[in-house]
C-alpha cells in the first residue's frame, strides 16, 4: 500500500543546475499538453472522483518542477483538462517542488503533508482548492490496469 507502484525507493535528489537552466529555455507547451492528456486519461479510467472534479471547474493550475525547469499550466473547463498556452495571470493553485519530491508523492512513498511541512513541496494560491486537490490525490485508487500501463514508463522498461 505504501508503494503500490512497486517502484524502487526514490531517494531525495537534485538534478544538476544545468538541467534546469536548459529546461527553462525549452518550449513549455509540450509539458502542459502531456499533463492535461494524462489527467484526462485518469479521468476516463474513472479514478478521479466526479464530485471533486466539479469543484475544479473553471480553475487554472500551474505545476513547476524546480530542477528540470519545467512549467506546466492547465485548466479544467467543460468537464475536461485543457493545456494553457498563454498565462491568464496568477494561477488559482501553484504546486512547486523538485522532481524527486513529485515522484515520491505520486508513488505514495512520501505523504504530501510531510513534504509540505519539511518545505519540499510548496502549494500557493487558494488554500481550500489546494486541500481539495490534495485530498483527491490521496483518495485515488489506481486500477491495476493503469499501473501496468504506467510502470514501464516510470521504470524505463527496466
Amino acid at each position: 500500500m505504501a508503494n503500490p507502484l512497486k517502484l524502487p525507493t526514490i531517494p531525495p535528489f537534485v538534478l544538476p543546475s544545468l538541467v534546469a537552466r536548459l529546461g527553462a529555455r525549452l518550449p513549455q507547451w509540450p509539458h502542459s499538453v502531456n499533463l492535461a492528456l494524462a489527467l484526462n486519461a485518469a479521468k476516463k479510467l474513472g479514478v478521479l472522483p466526479e464530485d471533486s472534479l466539479q469543484e475544479l471547474e473553471g480553475r487554472y493550475f500551474r505545476v513547476t518542477v524546480l530542477d528540470t525547469g519545467m512549467v506546466a499550466e492547465f485548466c479544467y473547463r467543460g468537464g475536461s483538462f485543457r493545456p494553457v498556452f498563454v498565462s491568464p495571470g496568477q494561477p488559482d493553485l501553484h504546486f512547486t517542488a523538485r522532481l524527486s519530491a513529485f515522484l515520491q508523492m505520486v508513488s505514495r512513498q512520501e505523504d504530501p503533508d510531510t513534504l509540505f511541512f519539511n518545505r519540499s513541496l510548496s502549494i500557493e494560491g487558494d488554500t481550500e482548492l489546494g486541500l481539495r486537490v490534495k485530498n483527491m490525490l490521496d483518495a485515488l485508487e489506481w486500477p491495476q490496469l493503469a499501473w501496468q500501463g504506467l510502470r514501464p514508463t516510470f521504470l524505463g522498461r527496466g
Binding site: M1, S52, R108, Q109, D111, E128, D138, E141
Partner: protein, 334 residues
C-alpha cells in the same frame, strides 16, 4: 492484561485499506458533512466508499468506527441523528460521539450499537466518564491529550468503561474539545463546523526569503526558507509576547508514545488511537505499520522492550514539524 487495540484514522477508502493492511484493529472515519471534526474539502466517505470500506474491514476481521463527534447546531439536530442512522444502516460497529443529545439518540434508537465517548466531549475525570456510562451506556471513552499517565491510570482504576488514549499524531492545545482560538479568528471551530482553521480562511504567502501564514488576516507564523512548517492553527503559531517571539502556546510537534508502550499496557489502557484522518494513505500506512510492530513487541516482552531506531525514524519523519513529544503524559506539573 489485554493487548490494547490499535485504532487508526482514514480520510478515504485508500487510507482505510492502508490501515487494515498494515495492522490496525479498528479504523475510524467520518462522513462527508459537518457531523465529524475533520470536515475538509474532498475528504471523508460517501455512502458508496463507506459500504466498500465496511466490507473490506469486516472481511478481514477489523472494526469500523464512525466519528459523529461535532456538536449538533441549533435547528439542525436531524443532520446528526441522520448520521447515526447511516452508521447503523451500513453496519458500522461503533459510533464515536461527543454531544450528549446525539449520544442519547444513539442509546435510545440503537442500544446494541457500541458507543464511544469522543475526545471532543473533553471528559478528563472518571466522574465525567461514569456519568456518560450511566446516562448513555458508553462502552469506551477517549481521553483528551491533557492528562499525565498517572492521571490516566487513576481514571482507569475508577471506571468499568474502557479507556482509549492517543498514541501518535498532531497535538491539540491544552483545551481539547473546546477550540476557542479558531472561533475567535474565524467564527468557526471543530465543534461547530468540523474544522479547526478552515482552509478558506488560510493564506500561505510565499516571499523571496520567507513564507507567511495568516488565518483570516491574522499573522500566525513566518517561516524562513529552510524552516519546517506546521498546521496553520493559532495555538501553534509564533507570537510576540513581552518582547520575545516564540511558540507561546504549543509547539508544532506530534505526540509519540512508543517509548512508554509497556507502561500504557500495564495500566490497562484498552485502545491506542492514531490521529490524522486528514493525512494521506502513505502516512496511515507508515504510522500503523510501525506502531503495530512496537505494540506487539511491547506486549510480548514488556521488560526487555526497546524502541527500534527504524520505528522512531519513520514516525519522526511523518510527525508535524518533524518533531515528537510525550506531550502531557510525562509533564511534571499538574
Amino acid at each position: 492484561m489485554a493487548k490494547p487495540q490499535l485504532v487508526c484514522p482514514a480520510g478515504s477508502l485508500a487510507a482505510l485499506k492502508a490501515a487494515v493492511d498494515n495492522g490496525a484493529d479498528d479504523v475510524y472515519l467520518g462522513f462527508r458533512n459537518d457531523t465529524n471534526a475533520r470536515n475538509f474539502a474532498g475528504l471523508n466517505f460517501d455512502d458508496k466508499s463507506l459500504a466498500e470500506g465496511v466490507r473490506y474491514a469486516h472481511q478481514r476481521g477489523r472494526k469500523v468506527l464512525a466519528a459523529i463527534n461535532t456538536y449538533a447546531q441549533a435547528g439542525r439536530f436531524a443532520d446528526w441523528t441522520r448520521s447515526v442512522d447511516t452508521a447503523a444502516n451500513l453496519g458500522i460497529d461503533v459510533v464515536i460521539i461527543a454531544d450528549p443529545g446525539v449520544l442519547d439518540y444513539a442509546a435510545q434508537t440503537y442500544p446494541d450499537m457500541r458507543r464511544h465517548l469522543s475526545v471532543q466531549a473533553s471528559a478528563t475525570s472518571y466522574e465525567a466518564v461514569n456519568f456518560c456510562r450511566e446516562k448513555f451506556g458508553i462502552q469506551r471513552a477517549v481521553l483528551p491529550r491533557v492528562l499525565t499517565l498517572a492521571q490516566v491510570e487513576n481514571v482507569i482504576r475508577h471506571t468499568e468503561v474502557e479507556i482509549e488514549v492517543f498514541g501518535f499524531g498532531s497535538l491539540c492545545v491544552m483545551n481539547e474539545g473546546r477550540c476557542w482560538l479558531s472561533s475567535y479568528a474565524t467564527g468557526e471551530s471543530p465543534n461547530t463546523v468540523g474544522a479547526c482553521s478552515p482552509a478558506k480562511y488560510v493564506q500561505w504567502e510565499k516571499k523571496p526569503d520567507e513564507m507567511d501564514v495568516r488565518l483570516n488576516g491574522i499573522l500566525i507564523d513566518r517561516y524562513g526558507n529552510e524552516e519546517n512548517a506546521g498546521y496553520p492553527t493559532i495555538c501553534k503559531g509564533r507570537f510576540e509576547v513581552a518582547g520575545e517571539t516564540y511558540y507561546a502556546m504549543e509547539e508544532p510537534t506530534s505526540l509519540n508514545v512508543i517509548e512508554m508502550l509497556p507502561e500504557i499496557i500495564r495500566i490497562g489502557v484498552a485502545a491506542i488511537k492514531v490521529e490524522g484522518r486528514q493525512r494521506s494513505p502513505t502516512y496511515v500506512a507508515q504510522v500503523t505499520r510501525n506502531l503495530r510492530q512496537a505494540l506487539d513487541a511491547a506486549f510480548a516482552s514488556p521488560d526487555s522492550y526497546k524502541v527500534k531506531p527504524v520505528w522512531a525514524a519513520e514516525l519522526s519523519k511523518v510527525a508535524e514539524g518533524s518533531q515528537i513529544t510525550l506531550g502531557a503524559y510525562n509533564r511534571p506539573w499538574r
